[in-house]
């Protein structure tokens, strides 16, 4: 049996771990600030909008978006590699996932970046 050298496994694994850790941290910050946990309270437009318009929060949300998109789609790609055995089908799905990721990234970015309170 031949085992040809292929690439991608290491970085897909590494960035899945790194984005996973980042997502947990970002999620905690998101909940703590947006939902004012542990006290809680009503989340209103007037309360949230000024914060969403700041550059720091835009960077935060974009990082969140990139991590979530990569983590989710890379996870799907790992499952696809398990169950789809045809190389051609894998390639098609890979490009479809990349396109989906890009579209969602652009959608997210045009929502986050130009936002004004």
């Amino acid at each position: 049996m031949k085992f040809p050298r292929t690439s991608g496994g290491f970085y897909a694994w590494l960035f899945q771990r790194l984005t996973g850790i980042l997502l947990v941290i970002l999620l905690i910050i998101h909940f703590a600030i947006t939902h004012n946990l542990p006290k809680g309270g009503e989340v209103t437009y007037a309360l949230v909008a000024p914060r969403l318009a700041t550059a720091t929060w835009k960077v935060f949300d974009l990082t969140f978006l990139v991590c979530a998109l990569f983590h989710g789609l890379n996870g799907v790609w790992m499952v696809v590699q398990d169950y789809v055995h045809s190389e051609t089908a894998q390639a098609w799905i890979f490009y479809a996932l990349c396109t989906l990721g890009l579209v969602l990234l652009v959608l997210g970015a045009i929502t986050v970046i130009p936002f004004k309170a």
Partner: protein
């Protein structure tokens, strides 16, 4: 002596080809202290001589009698019938492998994965002429929990990743790779790394831990895989 019903998977390639096999029931008396292998031996010798299964040592060393008993992979010679806690015992061949006959599965794909990682000591330096290649007790200790594998196939057969991707090296081969990776006498990392660092290799494992539960020798293949990844991470960074 207690009465048990053994529901045993049967597949005869001459009669059952194209089918998913069948289940045959045997009602037998089981004596105290019998293992599942003892019960299968009783069935074969006294009830139905056509039943086929592998066995050799009866002492949990040879790894021949790996099978699925009441849904759990283990070796039949180490599984006490009384410990199962049921009067009906289901015995099936190991999952994920092609059934040749009854409880006998084709282990070749399993061995192929093992050969791919070169499961033997590779050393380029000449050994000392007057003694063996020595190892410190500390270095020897690093091999504990990795070298004791008996190649029964219970781990790889329980791995959902292996069920889906038959080219996946599987927990057994990866644990063997980890065993040589941490061996102070071994110099074969470069020869093995291509098979390990592959899309069907160490990165394919999704840490499901089925292999840990299945191993009758209580080895932790998932930990060994994580150790391999750590080594590769250090090597790359």
């Amino acid at each position: 002596m207690a009465e048990y019903i053994f529901r045993v998977f049967r597949y005869d390639p001459e009669k059952d080809e194209g089918t998913r096999g069948r289940v045959q029931e045997y009602k037998i008396g089981v004596e105290r202290g019998w293992t599942v292998l003892d019960a299968l031996n009783y069935i074969k010798w006294h009830v139905d001589g056509s039943l086929a299964y592998r066995r050799a040592c009866r002492h949990g060393i040879c790894g021949s009698c790996g099978m699925t008993i009441n849904g759990k992979n283990t070796i039949a010679c180490e599984q006490q019938v009384a410990d199962l806690g049921t009067q009906v015992v289901t015995v099936e061949p190991l999952r994920g492998f092609r059934v040749i006959k009854d409880l006998i599965v084709d282990m070749e794909p399993f061995y192929d994965k093992l050969y791919a990682i070169k499961p033997y000591l590779i050393a380029y330096s000449d050994p000392p002429t007057d003694k063996e290649r020595l190892q410190s007790p500390e270095d020897r200790k690093l091999l504990d929990g990795k070298y004791e594998c008996i190649l029964c196939g219970c781990c790889t057969s329980s791995c959902p990743t292996y069920w889906a991707d038959k080219e996946f090296l599987g927990p057994n081969a990866l644990m063997k790779a980890a065993r040589f990776a941490v061996d102070s006498r071994d110099e074969g990392w470069e020869e093995r790394v291509n098979a390990i660092d592959d899309k069907h290799g160490v990165w394919r494992c999704h840490t499901i831990f089925n292999c840990v539960e299945a191993c009758p020798k209580e080895l932790n293949a998932t930990r060994a895989i994580v150790e391999l990844r750590r080594l590769m991470l250090k090597g790359r960074l």
